[in-house]
Symmetry: C2
Subunit: 437 residues, 2 copies
């Protein structure tokens, strides 16, 4: 992508309304623009990252046999009256009256809608287990939206729903999603810690939140220090096999969010206690027949008798993850992206635009990188070197190949690594091979 033709409205000044680093950086890097309180437009750079995260989440859902659907954003109120949640949900639900005076709402979650689809589609135990998911915009009318996309009102969520014939099978679905979530976060370059959680308005008897540790998280969490090093470590996981040992490994040690903390247990941990701030990036629930029973989601069992299906739901905040990742990975100059979601893999910075030799040399490097199939951002703008360096660091270009008249004369380019900050002069060939490591 040539920056001169791209749409990257970076800001020099720090927007005063942004209280935390990720919000400031997303605004400054031209990733998002506020539309109204807690509602954002995603500009090209932000959308690139959002899509990369969305695709990783989708791939991991598909990998464990979930099927993708897409439910609408606007739901009829009568669905929620059936489950009993219409009155319970409170002012966070965006309620709407259409032109025919029918009560509608902007879905804050989709248990009712998916249960209705399931109930009208599946009639035999032989069609179970089944896990359906979608990645769709939701709206929760937060009383005080803040922290940019981290606590917005309109947000993108992946929510999956499992349907099983009995509690044992439901537990297997729960475990499958639990481990799949660990894998998803690891691919996103995140250390996410599962913590037993309140079930809140979703209901149910078993629930975990996944939190990442950051400087400015909304929740003060505590956990055993072993969690810091714990990982799936590229284990080859058989998702059709027994996943309980992995779940046990990740749940047997103490880890608790704000409202679940236990002073006794923490005292017992001694030096092994870690406290930190955390951001919730996922939440999973097993809630049995809470929705299947009132909404008639039953199937014929082996003996022909109707059985209410056992359900669970599994959410990942896709748009919130963009903020969460930046919150956990940035420095004073800008964003440091995990490789898997970096909007660009490599940048080319032309230090003297309109100098025929520099233009040609940089154009050639750009073409070479494109031919290698790289996501390249090419700063061919007529601007000061300092402004170009600042923008490259701000938006987090992982490798930056920098070339001006002096380097051209000496037959070298400068290569900067965003993460380490290291800069070195080397031949173009060496630079290209480093960026491919």
């Amino acid at each position: 992508m040539r920056l001169s033709r791209y749409f990257l409205p970076t800001l020099k000044d720090t927007p005063s309304e942004a209280k935390i680093a990720s919000h400031r950086l997303m605004l400054r890097a031209g990733m998002i623009r506020q539309s109204s309180s807690g509602v954002y437009s995603w500009l090209p750079l932000g959308l690139r990252v959002l899509k990369k995260i969305e695709n990783i989440v989708r791939e991991e859902q598909n990998a464990v046999g979930c099927h993708e659907v897409l439910m609408p954003t606007i739901q009829p109120a009568d669905l929620w009256q059936k489950s009993g949640r219409y009155d319970d949900y409170g002012p966070e639900m965006l309620r709407i009256v259409d032109r025919h005076k029918r009560d509608m709402l902007y879905g804050p979650t989709n248990e009712e809608q998916i249960t209705e689809i399931f109930a009208s589609s599946v009639h035999s135990y032989r069609e179970l287990p089944q896990i359906l998911y979608h990645i769709q915009w939701k709206f929760r009318d937060e009383v005080r939206p803040r922290f940019g996309v981290m606590r917005g009102r309109e947000f993108l969520m992946k929510d999956a729903y499992s349907f099983d014939i009995d509690k044992e099978s439901a537990r297997r679905s729960y475990n499958k999603m639990f481990v799949s979530y660990l894998k998803t976060y690891e691919r996103l370059g995140l250390k996410a810690i599962p913590m037993a959680a309140d079930t809140g308005p979703i209901g149910g008897d078993m629930s975990h939140e996944f939190l990442i540790l950051t400087e400015t998280g909304e929740s003060e969490i505590a956990c055993h220090s072993d969690f810091i090093e714990m990982s799936l470590a590229n284990e080859d996981i058989d998702f059709k096999g027994n996943l309980k040992p992995i779940v046990d490994r990740f749940t047997s040690k103490y880890a608790a969010t704000d409202e679940m903390r236990d002073p006794e247990a923490e005292k017992a941990l001694g030096d092994n206690l870690v406290t930190a701030r955390g951001i919730e990036v996922g939440h999973i629930f097993n809630f049995g027949t809470k929705y299947s029973k009132p909404m008639g989601a039953s199937v014929a069992g082996p003996d022909g008798k109707d059985i209410d299906v056992e359900m669970g739901s599994y959410g990942i905040g896709v748009s919130r993850l963009v903020g969460g990742i930046i919150e956990s990975s940035h420095d004073e100059n800008g964003i440091i992206w995990p490789d898997s979601i970096s909007p660009f893999e490599v940048g080319v910075i032309n230090l003297k635009v309109d100098d025929a030799d520099c233009d040609k040399a940089c154009d050639d490097i750009y073409k070479t990188l494109l031919e290698q199939g790289k996501d390249v951002i090419y700063d061919d703008r007529d601007d000061r070197a300092g402004a170009k360096f600042a923008d490259a660091d701000l938006i987090g270009v992982p490798w930056q190949i920098i070339l001006g008249p002096r380097g051209l004369k000496n037959g070298v380019v400068e290569l900067k690594n965003r993460k380490s900050g290291e800069r070195e002069e080397l031949s173009l060939e060496s630079a290209l091979s480093k960026t491919s490591e």
Copy 2:
């Protein structure tokens, strides 16, 4: 995909509420489910097709240098008060009051939102021309939603917006999008005819609709018979060059929608007149400074003076296209997909599930096709052959490899072509090579 584990709730009976073929077929094929009047959930089969169309539309937008953004579904009313459209838009606009009593709306289109983003981001003529687009759900509260996804309330639209420094450059952007649209429709396997159009509530002085000809379109259109054969015919188009000759070729002959028809001109056409029903699948507008002026979208020109930018907007109804394509390509047994958007490329039908030899042979064919990188649907359900044949034709599996004990004994498979209806017995190798043609 193994059908036994897929989520494909096909219906045997024709739903009585569906008045046209595409609506009936989408419900019967388990592609969509109604949530409320004019609002649908997309089930896995439908979503596959929707995504394939969305991706083709996206690729063609990117190919001509448009940049993708994503604006929210919920917009603040004050944006629309600035442009003057808030009062004009009428009851089709879904109006919402949030918990703080602020007036909001579900975006029916995005001229205001994108103009605001542009105005706060671009300040110099040197950053023009620019075309931004997004693919996002819209809501129009139709008084009588009908025809399934063809005239729904919540629908997926690609809308692009061009920004130029003067009328001449704006005309070039318009031409670029015009030709890009022709290319997009051809990739989708559609014959779309551009017709001069009313500008309606969008405004402006130049506008074209793109219509496809079908049995049951909403508009009775008339055009010169030459349009039936006219195509870009894989021309290698230089989108940076002069596109006026192509636009002229596609606009110089008579073609008119319902409200634009001219009896005199039609009489003059004599035998060259074609009348048919048509479905609108795209609409493009050039509307000058209608939004840039009230919303302050101006840039500094070469002499430093502020200039209101010239704008255009360009819509393609992505979800509507699913219905439109089925409307123009089906038979009494089901859907016939254009190759580019078929949800599956090939199917395997096991005629005797639980027969060890049949299972093994079909499993092997399935694996071979997967290894070839094909999108395969494998009917491994324990069901009657007739039901399987009916489902394969209903959902439009283009090539169907059919195998049972008799074929297995004779060393042949049956290969059915969905479009021609031809069935032939041949060796597995020949069948596989035919499906790759």
